[in-house]
Symmetry: C2
Subunit: 432 residues, 2 copies
């Protein structure tokens, strides 16, 4: 009779049965008469018990001498652990699929970050990295489900774009069949075109920044989701961001609590995430920063340090609005009651994590947008298509971008974004 | 009392009520005493009836003189159409949000493809393009749901890669802080690393080909989903592809039949898609091609023309397997019973659409893979990390890549892939 091949996550359905599991030896320990093999198959890890009293001596010896990351197929009976609330496998047969050619380079001892990053293709197998990437996958799935179920149509923005819209200093450039092309920094302008067609839309893909900065919050390649909604103003935008972010956190708490446990994430601060978020106008944010001893002046942008201070101050996310127009991109709509201010908003995650969302209402007046393009000394011709959106049926509209990696770092409680993406690309890191 | 703002898709819940709809004038027609305005809000199109007997003369005149793509807010009562099975709005109030500055460039008359592509940002608003992009969004959602619900963990592959693995002729190159980097052509090698960690994994993102070819099946930038599974062989890979593709088609038939109707897609061929697909070994495919008058010889690759012939021959997808190794990439596993052949498979969609899936079993033997890298004259150092996957716990594994745009073209019944992605990038097309 063939033994059924099962996944570790489904062992509960096979208690008392003989099954086969295919995977890798993640960890092992032995006493004189028993070997405990911890086998990972990607869906979980199971303790495989090899008892000297149950198996032939040759098999017992073989099981005790397997190096870490040996790939193997184990057969045996699924049973309840005598004391812990978990299942184990009582082994009776073992096939080694492939024995490592030498000792697995990642040992339980401490390794430096560079070493681990150089071995990222193997490091992914570790318990912590698996937990982080499962939370990431959950967040990506939650993002898509949130928008798909609310009438937002996914409209992918292009990665290769013809225009260096905001200067070439932070753009990756490539030769596109004789023409200069740049890797996108944001799909927003395209999402605006889609919003005029579909009303509610989002794009979600990788975006690029060729910044020379080397901070714990920056990657050269990162994923961003950007919803854009026609007939929505700044208030609606903030309400959408609040509901969306609350939903993401709740979904991870609901489905990935085990992984947060592996990461030793204190979930109490996450359980406090719900609307309304704290609202601060730019000048109120400055005041708090000054009280905290930061030497900020009106007109200064809020950088990483300022965000850290603000987001440590409250136990809920903070929405900072109405920045001076001088700090913001050309496409923001001016506040009608004070045209020196933008109808923008940044959402800062609490616990010092800082900006995870940036967005606002877009300029929908043709003449005002033309003037902004000129004032920013941008190449007008490159924006003719974008101006068309104001020529033909312009409407008030707003949207935002959420950075996936910063969100993963916050929810997982990680200091640095480098572990939040499978293969990070940073200033000095392009491999593996 | 405030009138509730509603979406057209939810009008059924408001029959008999006074509501407000915000959108764009997609089309209009008039008789002497009544104007019919077809208003699009992104969730649908509704017929708005402006009767001379119901509204003041000034409003009646205004409603009759609105140019296409005027953005507007209409208010009135939701009622059933007197004859057709649909809802309409009896207008009593109208606010024009923005009047086009000149005539909308896309008229109901015929336009050339270049003109439409130059106006892609507006063309998205048309009925056909909306239908195609909604089918695309449905397919993307179905892909993710398929894998997420079957224990596949999403592990995003990087876009920027350090190595020109298969020659630089079809790669887009960029300067990465002083180092050469290339835009990915496939996430497969990274997916293999992830499969050794997660057992079942997939990556899904944009991929790039700097090909000079200008065919109806090629884009410079296209989206690809790539599942990869540990402990799976070619047979398992084919079974996964069959189940997956069948599931995608069924999902679109289930949820996007209205859109397929707009596209005048004959759904009968789609309803026949179910396992098992037709299986052909490479030499059987050659025989069929020769019978059809194609002058193919053993060792020839199957190009677009050959795929068209094969995929017109059967009413189900065709799986072509066991190509000569000389035609395939270095990472394919050789057939143990005939080492001149690859354990590969291509899935050709029927009705002449051709390849939508390519994949197979990967070489899992360290020495064989090292020899293949040498035989293909690839830079060994660049593959050390990939070889590590065979050094530490190698297992049989397989996977495939499905091209989203070709799948959308097939399911929508489109001749060319250029309409299957919001902003296509082709040999001579980088804008808007």
């Amino acid at each position: 009779m063939t033994v059924p091949r099962v996944r570790i996550e489904s062992l509960e359905r096979h208690v008392g049965q003989r099954v086969e599991i295919a995977g890798w030896l993640q960890h092992a320990r032995s006493s004189k008469h028993v070997h405990f093999l911890y086998v990972r198959d990607g869906s979980g890890v199971v303790q495989v018990v090899v008892a000297a009293s149950d198996v032939p001596p040759a098999l017992f010896d073989q099981a005790g001498g397997l190096p870490l990351e040996t790939s193997l197929v184990v057969r045996g009976t699924v049973r309840r652990h005598p004391r812990r609330d978990e299942l184990e496998l009582g082994l009776d047969e073992l096939d080694v699929v492939s024995r490592p050619v030498r000792e697995y380079p990642i040992s339980p001892k401490e390794h430096g970050v560079d070493f681990l990053m150089d071995h990222r293709h193997l490091w992914l197998r570790s318990r912590r990295q698996q937990a982080i990437l499962r939370v990431r996958a959950e967040i990506v799935s939650a993002i898509r489900e949130y928008f798909d179920s609310r009438g937002f149509v996914l409209v992918d923005a292009p990665i290769l774009t013809p225009n260096a819209c905001e200067g070439t200093s932070t753009l990756f450039e490539t030769d596109y069949h004789g023409q200069k092309a740049y890797l996108t920094q944001s799909g927003q302008l395209y999402a605006e075109a889609a919003a005029m067609a579909f009303g509610r839309t989002y794009c979600f893909g990788p975006t690029f920044r060729a910044e020379k900065s080397k901070t714990r919050r920056h990657l050269a390649e990162f994923w961003m989701v950007e919803p854009e909604v026609a007939f929505m103003d700044l208030e609606g935008d903030i309400a959408l961001a609040e509901d969306f972010l609350t939903n993401l956190v709740a979904r991870v708490l609901d489905r990935r609590r085990a992984e947060l446990g592996v990461l030793e994430r204190d979930v109490a601060p996450l359980e406090r995430i719900r609307p309304p978020f704290v609202r601060l106008r730019y000048e109120q944010a400055l005041e708090i920063l000054r009280e905290a001893g930061q030497p900020v002046r009106f007109g200064d942008d809020l950088g990483g340090d300022e965000e850290t201070v603000l987001s440590q101050r409250f136990d809920r996310p903070v929405v900072v609005t109405h920045y001076p127009m001088s700090l913001k991109a050309f496409y923001f709509k001016r506040d009608p009651s004070d045209p020196s201010r933008a109808l923008n908003m940044d959402v800062l995650a609490p616990e010092g994590y800082g900006e995870v969302i940036g967005g606002g209402q877009r300029e929908d007046d043709l003449a005002a947008l033309e003037a902004a393009i000129e004032a920013h000394r941008l190449p007008r011709a490159a924006f003719e298509w974008y101006l068309d959106l104001r020529r033909y049926g312009s409407v008030p509209h707003a949207g935002f971008g959420l950075g996936v990696e910063r969100t993963v770092a916050w929810i997982c409680g990680l200091h640095h974004v480098r572990e939040t993406i499978p293969f990070p690309r940073m200033l000095h890191r392009l491999a593996p």
